[in-house]
Amino acid sequence: MVLNSLDKMIQLQKNTANIRNICVLAHVDHGNEEYLINLIDSPGHVDFSSEVSTAVRICDGCIIVVDAVEGVCPQTQAVLRQAWLENIRPVLVINKIDRLIVELKFTPQEAYSHLKNILEQINALTGTLFTSKVLEERAERETESQVNPNSEQGEQVYDWSTGLEDTDDSHLYFSPEQGNVVFTSAIDGWGFGIEHFARIYSQKIGIKKEVLMKTLWGDYYINMKAKKIMKGDQAKGKKPLFVQLILENIWSLYDAVLKKDKDKIDKIVTSLGLKIGAREARHSDPKVQINAICSQWLPISHAVLAMVCQKLPSPLDITAERVERLMCTGSQTFDSFPPETQALKAAFMKCGSEDTAPVIIFVSKMFAVDAKALPQNKPRPLTQEEIAQRRERARQRHAEKLAAAQGQAPLEPTQDGSAIETCPKGEEPRGDEQQVESMTPKPVLQEENNQESFIAFARVFSGVARRGKKIFVLGPKYSPLEFLRRVPLGFSAPPDGLPQVPHMAYCALENLYLLMGRELEYLEEVPPGNVLGIGGLQDFVLKSATLCSLPSCPPFIPLNFEATPIVRVAVEPKHPSEMPQLVKGMKLLNQADPCVQILIQETGEHVLVTAGEVHLQRCLDDLKERFAKIHISVSEPIIPFRETITKPPKVDMVNEEIGKQQKVAVIHQMKEDQSKIPEGIQVDSDGLITITTPNKLATLSVRAMPLPEEVTQILEENSDLIRSMEQLTSSLNEGENTHMIHQKTQEKIWEFKGKLEQHLTGRRWRNIVDQIWSFGPRKCGPNILVNKSEDFQNSVWTGPADKASKEASRYRDLGNSIVSGFQLATLSGPMCEEPLMGVCFVLEKWDLSKFEEQGASDLAKEGQEENETCSGGNENQELQDGCSEAFEKRTSQKGESPLTDCYGPFSGQLIATMKEACRYALQVKPQRLMAAMYTCDIMATGDVLGRVYAVLSKREGRVLQEEMKEGTDMFIIKAVLPVAESFGFADEIRKRTSGLASPQLVFSHWEIIPSDPFWVPTTEEEYLHFGEKADSENQARKYMNAVRKRKGLYVEEKIVEHAEKQRTLSKNK
């Protein structure tokens, strides 16, 4: 685009009816009218379908380009669906026709049937979308009909169902006779619609153009003698019109050029009345010749842009249906909006440029621009005066013309022909270039160097966007009702002291830009219907937003993203000191990319979630080169596990009942349960561990039991409640009764308790709920500590008994140490130091008698304050509780109490002992790992189902259900998949199904991995089946060892598997 056409573009911008917002852009003369075409090119890869989403929203129509050889690809489907969802009108370009000729060597007849095929496929897709839509609407209407008999939905469905039979079909489907299909070869520079040839042949043969328009595509043939067009070509073995009149001509041209038949070429050229430059004519490369001839004969730009001008709607033609669709989020219906909001619909439809019209702008994405590229920071060839002059001139010219044409005729082209400067849209859309028109440079403002500056990519739907205009920025979650509730009706210009409304901001439009490819040009104002860039919004807009001069405007519905982010990686700076840059860079990236998610996990990892591997690569490059400007390393994210225990299995690994056959005693393969437990700890057959503190003063008996699954679930769900219970108890401890238990909370607690009681039934769990002492880890986790000793009275339900005897208070203080021990034990299990889940520890006995004896002598001495100093929970090993302090006092300030003997303070010993007891209690039970699971929703077509299943089963996934989507041939598969296996899953499934299946992963639950990580074959059958070393992979052990290795824990793995097979280092022989 050259500069001198810019002025004209400014003029053109003012005439809304002659704007076409589609995807790609230039201004075009068509017939006697001039059009401004905003053309947004979007990348074709599935990973970037988010770019398509953002572009589609601000367009009125779109060109869908289909490869003539490859036909309909998955991405074509996706794009069609998006266009459909956004309610914009598509036109079709079938490109690369030349490949049919040159590469595939089709005859014209074959090419015709091939093209017909493609067209049918696309129409079938459209039809599917259409029918599924109708079915959905019908279902919706059925549910809603009672509630809302004359709602919008009803009308719509009425339209649709009539459309099924007659009128609407014609709009929906692509057909050359409709003029919404163009055949092109961009590389050779030609393209045509039926209309072009219809015009030519109506002169040549003398058949009416209208008739030709209808018959050039389809099963018609021409009877040259009778000059009549007849139906049913195939039956009579005749060539259809399309082949005879169009394709054969093109084929013969290609034939002539490729065979270098000079005479024939000349003949064709002269018969077409073209002038080919001597240079091109002599050129040895046939491609150049073809290009030269065809681009004159059938210029592609004419063909495509003519179609655009004719078939695609202008901003004025926006349908009421689309407006409502844009404004109504989710289940909200248009009628439910306040009248102020409903009034805006008229503004939308009118798309007026008067000053009174409300300004409505939609920002579909934010993109980062190097600050250097901003016009204010760029050297300019033209001074301001010059530009002002030019503008003045243009205005005069325009005014003259307007006067001449009575101010109503369309603009005459000022410079004819040469005005078309667009490059036709190539077959491989690349990057996202936007172009618009007009410019007025502005004085340089602030702006730091080397900074990324964010520009909002937006479109004016109504009103005129002016620089400096104050405007409301409405986030996607904003609700106009909320605002109207807070602000009295009929307020005038919004003052700064406006009440805070969530998701709303108020700011001025700082800079307006014209987007021309990579270039940005200043604009003073932008009339409605245009695409523009807005600077200075980065603080107000995250990814997308609606800007409006009235706060009653609802935010537009969120963008439809075909791809949801699923590929997760952990990102870290190469140099640890560069962490702040990384965080900053990631924030910028988050703003710049509509389809990226960034999380900081509890482990401190920065996780980047992207739509696919290609998208990921681009995000990382952006991060490295633009946003963070540091070296980063990318790794698989850390996968969490949980440890638990189960009931002893009834059958062994080969499904034989355990206990039936005797174990094969092999010396070096004994299960070493006993050897893990050091001496001095008694283990009874039931898994009860009895352990004594190092100073032999206290003895604890602990047993571990698996909790039923439902209980674990209840605990997980209620962790917040448990936490608030804990806070309550600790504040009660302090004697602060100010935090009175809220009635609701109390109810919830009882409900929670009831639920637990309901699920913990049976002999083993009798009364256990009342004896719950604590939850863990962190006092709110899914594990329970139960105290079964007789004098226990301190359960979580009752809180500490206020008037407890001294004895009890003493117990309580020591109890805190035991609880702390439990907390520590549940925080890191014995298998791989991961938290526990679903385990119940039962403290069967605690014998502190010896300790009591020792302490009894000074009990009398202890004052009342003992009660006051009781504490809620101490977790530290080094911490000495009130008791030992008392002893300290007894030994009169000497510093060391007798209990802080060589083993450290007594409370610390108790904590350590309790922790050990819990660990051993776990180890004598069958331990299991729990893996985090994703639920995975996969949409796939029937023909790739098999491959989807293969990928799932390879990654230990499990299919839960599979059903067909109504009205389509898509299947919806629901599966679960371990998080540990999900790395690269999305990519693999896409590759294997050539993009026809796209999974969505959401974390769902924890699941026990059935295999025992410590399992070795013990019975004869198992030996037969697995061999001595159990070489077949044990999933649980694999996971466990991976975690242990990562954490630097001891892994039971041989450094060298075979001693003999090491590299021989000795030199002599």
Binding site: S577, L599, I600, A886, I1055
Partner: protein, 237 residues
């Protein structure tokens, strides 16, 4: 014409010698490299994978086999396998390259895990990942000492890392419970006297002792949280 003569020499390669002195005599056995530690930890259970030969030597490199009388006088038996097992478990070992390597690596990881567990980024109050800590440790050229405990070394590492990057021990959240009259006295020493405060875990003992001393055992400390870190995932919005 050469005649095939069997040698009575068996040459051993890849030998790791385990020695033991008993009854004033030195006994050696010939083992495979990188296997002895595995045997001791119980991972390797096949004796033949560890021993090159079941015979007990006086000097492995010279191939001098121990005399029967010496064995009986030292071990009370002449069962070579039994004696080999004894020497394997109690004798002094040459640690082979791979064994040393894995040990160092393991300790290195362990230290990094401890550091990552105990520290946070003071700006975000979020922990660093183990991988990052490992890289930082490599950057400061930290070398692992096998004779020190990993916990001790982790504390050293934290000190050294502080100079390089923003890292800090995760603070403990404490609550002081003090009798009213003592509170004032302590105020100067523990200012500001806040009910709930954050401290560096390193000075916990000091504070604990101070409180006990000053209040004569009446006041107490309560640890509310061992690690004051941000919990849960955060999403950028």
């Amino acid at each position: 014409m050469s005649i095939f003569t069997p040698t009575n020499q068996i040459r051993l390669t890849n030998v790791a010698v385990v020695r033991m002195k008993r009854a004033g005599k030195r006994f050696e056995i010939a083992c495979y490299k990188n296997k002895v530690v595995g045997w001791r930890s119980g991972v390797e259970k096949d004796l033949d994978e560890v021993l090159q030969t079941h015979s007990v030597f006086v000097n492995v490199s010279k191939g001098q086999v121990a005399k029967k009388e010496d064995l009986i006088s030292a071990f009370g038996t002449d069962d070579q396998t039994e004696i080999c097992k004894q020497i394997l478990t109690k004798g002094e070992v040459q640690v082979s390259d791979k064994e040393r390597h894995t040990q160092l690596e393991q300790m290195f990881r362990d230290i990094a895990t401890i550091v990552a567990d105990k520290c946070v980024n003071p700006e975000t109050k979020r922990p660093y990942t183990v991988i990052l800590i490992e890289r930082a440790m490599k950057d400061i050229h930290y070398s692992v000492k096998t004779n020190k405990s990993t916990k001790q070394q982790a504390l050293e590492v934290i000190k050294q890392l502080k100079e390089k990057m923003k890292i800090e021990r995760a603070h403990m959240r404490l609550r002081f419970i003090l009798p009213v009259n003592e509170g004032k006295k302590l105020k100067e020493k523990l200012k500001p006297l806040i009910k709930v405060c954050l401290i560096d875990p390193g000075c916990f003992r000091e504070i604990d002792e101070l409180i006990k001393k000053e209040t004569k055992g009446k006041g107490s400390l309560e640890v509310l949280n061992l690690k004051d870190v941000e919990e849960g995932d955060e999403k950028f919005e």
